[in-house]
């Protein structure tokens, strides 16, 4: 359920709506499910039901006020005086006012545990003590030599496993984000869909954001987890 409160900053826009010269509402867009609709609301409390399988992935909502008649003259004091009178006349369907975008991620992908898209895999050709990443499968494969594979598999079963967040998953996630930034080649992999949804849900901008910041956000402050583990075992 989408709910909120719609108010107008500009009294002249409020007056246009009250007089029936303009109409207010929400533009709701979800590219993944082909939803692109204008839902009319009066200023005040608003609610819109998005359940029933209407949305999935990124949803964008904007408040909008639209001219409800041709030749409507805008008299707002907020319009810069440089605009000549002719530029203040709008037609039916013209947008008079617009809010910032409200974006959110709909669906269950963002809730999938990150572990579900990583797979630790034994690989004979990787030197002991290091890891390689293979992004060509449906899950992100972390390839390690047999000795390290045995050690990491044991560690993952113990309370010390959180040390892996900063030592292994932090660089892996940074590397994955870099690959996602660079090309569309992996967009049909399952891990790509889950990572994209997680990034959208926490507001990470894959294309432009700082990779170290993004990876720390996705892993929920992994150095903090490391600190807790070390304090626990040494205390």
């Amino acid at each position: 359920m989408l709910d909120g409160h719609m108010t107008m900053d500009d009294p002249s826009v409020s007056a246009l709506i009250a007089d029936g010269h303009a109409r207010a509402g929400l533009m709701i867009t979800c590219q993944d499910t082909y939803l692109d609709s204008f839902e009319e609301f009066q200023p005040g409390e608003i609610q819109f039901d998005l359940s029933g399988g209407k949305v999935r992935g990124s949803v964008i909502v904007r408040g909008v006020v639209v001219a409800a008649q041709d030749g409507l003259v805008l008299k707002s004091k907020s319009i810069n005086s440089e605009f000549p009178p002719a530029a203040r006349v709008v037609q039916l369907g013209d947008i008079i006012a617009l809010t910032d975008e409200l974006r959110f991620e709909a669906g269950l992908e963002k809730l999938a545990p990150l572990e579900s898209i990583f797979r630790l895999k034994r690989h004979e050709d990787v030197a002991e003590g290091i890891f390689k990443i293979d992004l060509d499968s449906e899950a992100i494969e972390i390839l390690v030599a047999p000795g390290l594979h045995g050690f990491l598999s044991l560690l993952r079963e113990q309370p010390l496993r959180d040390t892996l967040l900063s030592s292994l998953f932090l660089p892996v996630v940074m590397s994955v984000l870099e690959a996602m930034r660079g090309e569309e080649a992996y967009s049909d992999r399952r891990w790509h869909g889950v990572m994209s949804a997680r990034c959208n849900a926490v507001g990470v901008d894959i294309k432009n954001g700082d990779l170290a910041d993004a990876a720390q956000q996705l892993l929920n402050a992994p150095l903090g987890s490391l600190q807790k583990v070390i304090e626990r075992v040494s205390g």
């Binding site: 993944d32 499910t33 399988g53 209407k54």
Partner: protein, 251 residues
């Protein structure tokens, strides 16, 4: 009627990772032994008469595409758009109930193994918006129907006839969610295409028309226009497109 089923995540991952290993199954076999033994039968909460899907026609012609879209749309009418983006439902259908149709429609006997594997990855899996909408053997038919019904709820077949008249028309409709998803505008385009057969006949004219609609329509909230005003807008766009396309050299 039976419950609509989908495969488990591990099954989906394994199938996608092992297309080449299973190439003979795609070429001439089936996945029934996998289905019987593995996590292939996760049930959704509604029924569908999947036996009707045996009537899907695989010749790829425009008439067949319209019939197939209507059939898939009707059989899977309880699927919501959210569920219809679920890859694992479509994987189940293209590997079990619609395997024969998917193979005949999208795989050719003379393809070498690499080409066949590429075609399988494209038409038997639906992981992204574009693969689900445009490429998967069955999901693309569902999305045709869905968009047609969104445009003309009382007669989706009317919209399908227009959208599927040519491949470029379908692409222009579906690849521009800002047009196809806005029912008021999309309905206007369907009416314009029905009234102006020349738009359906010429690829260049249609392309220029859609560009004009995009350009001239930017910034309007069409949803508060009535049909008459939308039709007038379309008429202006057609006129402008005719002039512009007449000036363009044919390639």
């Amino acid at each position: 009627m039976s419950r609509l089923l989908y495969v488990g995540q591990q099954v989906a991952d394994d199938l996608k990772n092992k297309v080449s290993e299973n190439i003979v199954r795609y070429r001439e076999g089936n996945f029934l032994d996998f289905e019987a033994a593995g996590d292939w039968r996760i049930s959704l909460s509604f029924d569908a008469d999947l036996a009707r899907l045996h009537a899907l026609e695989s010749d790829g012609g425009s008439e067949s595409e319209i019939k197939n879209s209507l059939l898939v749309g009707e059989v899977l009418s309880k699927l919501t758009p959210t569920l219809a983006r679920e890859n694992r439902i479509w994987i189940r259908l293209s590997h079990i109930e619609c395997l024969e149709y998917s193979r005949k429609r999208w795989l050719q006997a003379d393809m070498d193994d690499d080409d066949l594997a590429e075609a399988v990855s494209k038409h038997f899996f639906a992981p992204t918006l574009t693969t689900c909408r445009d490429d998967h053997a069955v999901s693309r038919l569902w999305w045709n129907y869905r968009i047609a019904r969104q445009l003309v709820p009382e007669a989706p077949d009317r919209a399908l006839k227009v959208i599927l008249a040519r491949a470029d028309i379908r692409l222009n409709f579906l690849e521009r969610p800002g047009v196809a998803a806005r029912a008021t505008l999309g309905r206007g385009i369907v009416r314009a295409l029905e009234k102006n057969p020349a738009l359906l006949a010429g690829e260049l004219l249609f392309r220029v028309f859609m560009k004009t609609v995009n350009l001239r329509g930017a910034g309007f909230v069409f949803e508060i226009w009535d049909d008459n005003r939308i039709d007038q807008f379309m008429d202006r766009c057609i006129k402008e497109a005719r002039t512009a396309s007449a000036r363009k050299p044919t390639m």
